[in-house]
């Protein structure tokens, strides 16, 4: 059962045939469409979108922290199709302790973006080959882009090497 706004969209129909009820909702932002995807289906939907939808490139992945409301995190995927000159945003909402499937096996370029989301938000990606901190030092505590992490204040950390 597809949301009404994309019921005629051939790509959305293909996605829905292969993975029923994976697209939960659709919104139109000022710059284009946003698809809300069920958490357990994100890697599958991405694979279909790449293979049959023509979205060759993943421009980026990022997170948004909606603390204190629930579900807390939103992970955003920015897809780009050179062939159709189109862009699409995928959004996944998840609770604090839930995990996402990694899309590194769909686009290799997702590697660093997922590491960044893990580093700065603490969202874990299943099946990521090297889920380590990328911006902060390896022994850093906390995830700086969370809303309950302070902007000001000092903490000294020297990596033991």
């Amino acid at each position: 059962v597809l949301p009404e706004a994309i019921a005629q969209n051939p790509i959305a129909i293909t996605v829905d045939q292969e993975f029923p009820s994976s697209i939960v909702d659709v919104a139109t932002a000022v710059d284009g469409p946003v698809w809300f995807v069920a958490r357990e289906h994100i890697a599958n939907v991405c694979r279909v979108l790449k293979e049959t939808g023509g979205f060759e490139q993943l421009s980026g992945v990022t997170g948004v922290d909606w603390w204190p409301s629930e579900p807390r995190f939103e992970v955003m995927y920015f897809l780009h199709s050179f062939r159709h000159n189109a862009r699409l945003r995928l959004s996944v909402r998840l609770q604090e302790n839930e995990e996402l499937d990694s899309v590194v096996r769909v686009w290799r370029g997702a590697n660093w973006y997922e590491r960044e989301v893990f580093d700065l938000f603490g969202v874990r990606f299943n099946g990521h080959p090297n889920l380590e901190r990328i911006m902060m030092p390896a022994d850093w505590e906390g995830h700086p882009l969370r809303k309950d992490y302070p902007v000001h204040g000092h903490r000294y950390s020297y990596q033991n090497e």
């Binding site: 993943l58 990022t62 780009h80 000159n85 290799r108 090297n130 882009l145």
Partner: protein, 422 residues
């Protein structure tokens, strides 16, 4: 087990892990016999050819690179976190500091994103001025790339020519905004200040000098046998792998893909300008050099068109709740004084929503994802920076080439570490 064997075994164990990493390179079985000769070398974080603080961990067999692992984060300054604590207008100076070689493009991208959320209409004069300044910025950024990457390979002279010309562009920026590099000149709603008197003749003069300087470098390098030997056939990666890894900008155009945000999703009246998107198909360091040289000529073309056809009219939008009022009005009109007080103390509210705005920075696709929750502070600002996407391919690009060529490849990628780490 002897000590040497233990060392080899530990390296092997390390590689079992490394093979899982898709950004790394698999070691072919026949190469494993040379394991004992292998050396791990740290290039950076303080190495001149990394143009900043990039660390590359190289696994070497003699002079051949078997595996390269870029490590970033040494310049992470938490810009995205700082954005969340500030008002919308206070974010502009932070965007300057992300990519410090193309700050006006960063300003523009952020301004466009906020304007889209606000639904602001920008007058034509401000749009054309933005285009002209962004193309001057592209010229200055490409000149830095040309000078430094040529110097990395051993050509000393272009460095002096390019930095001489770049200085003239920076003086134009100083004339407009009072700052050479951190201009903050493009702001939500238009420009920061009225364009100064005499800018037209000044820009026209500099542009005429500049095209002469570009041709000088062209004569020095394009047919230079040493330059050709060092750059031809180096740094090749299949096009589909490049797209998969998230590479954008001149690197993709040098591989034959005609992508440019200025043409594909026009903003700021770029569709009114007549310019080409140069492409090459060789996909090596030399092709990237040719593409960027051609881009500079196209940018000169755009600046000349902007000079000839600059529309007259206001240089910022008519939006008193967003833009600070004129100083004169503030002293004579009560409403202006109230607006000034409210914008400075409270900031302006942006309707709730989110937007992903893309512009073509000198390095590739620059995207700002701005989330508003309806207050005067952005809820989240994500910078999709071209250097981050491009640098991810470094490991794949350095595989199997000589150590001395790695310098040429890194130069051709034209990354800025401030842009990568934010």
């Amino acid at each position: 087990m002897k000590e040497g064997e233990a060392h080899v075994a530990s390296l092997d164990a390390e590689h079992e892990l490394a093979i899982e990493d898709p950004s790394g390179i698999e070691i072919a079985p026949d190469q494993r016999s040379s394991l004992a000769r292998r050396m791990t070398l740290n290039m950076g974080p303080q190495h001149p050819s990394t143009h900043g603080v990039l660390r590359v961990v190289l696994e070497l067999d003699g002079e051949t690179i078997l595996k390269a692992r870029p490590e970033i984060g040494y310049l992470h300054t938490g810009i995205e976190k700082q954005c969340e604590g500030r008002k919308y207008q206070q974010v502009v100076p932070l965007t300057d500091r992300a990519d410090y070689l193309s700050n006006l493009n960063n300003n523009l991208c952020y301004a466009l994103a906020v304007e889209k959320l606000l639904g602001l209409e920008i007058p034509p004069m401000a749009q054309w001025m933005r285009v002209m300044l962004c193309e001057l910025q592209r010229l200055s950024s490409h000149l830095v790339w040309l000078g430094t990457s040529a110097m990395d390979i051993g050509a000393m002279t272009p460095y002096f020519y390019t930095f001489r010309d770049r200085e003239e562009i920076l003086k134009i920026f100083e004339m407009f905004s009072g700052q050479r590099m951190m201009t903050s000149y493009i702001r939500p709603g238009g420009l920061a200040l009225e364009p100064p008197r005499g800018w037209h003749t000044r820009v026209a003069k500099v542009i005429d000098q500049l095209i002469h300087g570009i041709e000088e470098c062209d004569e020095l390098l394009t047919a230079n046998p040493i330059w050709l030997d060092r750059t031809r056939g180096v740094g090749i990666l299949p096009l589909d792998v490049m797209v998969d890894l998230g590479i954008t900008g001149p690197m993709l155009r040098a591989a034959g893909m005609k992508v440019d945000a200025r043409k594909d999703s026009p903003h700021s009246s770029y569709d009114l300008f007549d310019f080409e998107v140069p492409t090459r198909t060789a996909n090596d360091v030399y092709a990237r050099y040719e593409v960027r040289m051609e881009e500079m000529r196209q940018s000169v073309r755009i600046v000349r068109q902007a000079l000839d056809g600059m529309p007259s009219g206001p240089w910022r939008a008519d939006a008193p709740h967003v833009l600070l009022p004129d100083r004169e009005k503030m002293k004579t009109q009560m409403e202006s004084l109230i607006y000034h007080f409210k914008i400075v103390t409270e900031g302006f509210r942006v309707p709730a929503g989110s937007v992903y705005q893309v512009v073509e920075s000198p390095r590739g696709e620059l995207g700002y994802y701005v989330v508003s929750d309806g207050t005067a502070h952005p809820h989240r600002v994500f910078m999709r920076t071209p250097s981050f996407g491009n640098l991810q391919s470094l490991g794949a690009m350095l595989e199997g080439i000589l150590l001395s060529d790695s310098v040429a490849v890194m130069g051709s990628m034209d990354f800025v570490l401030g842009d990568t780490d934010r």
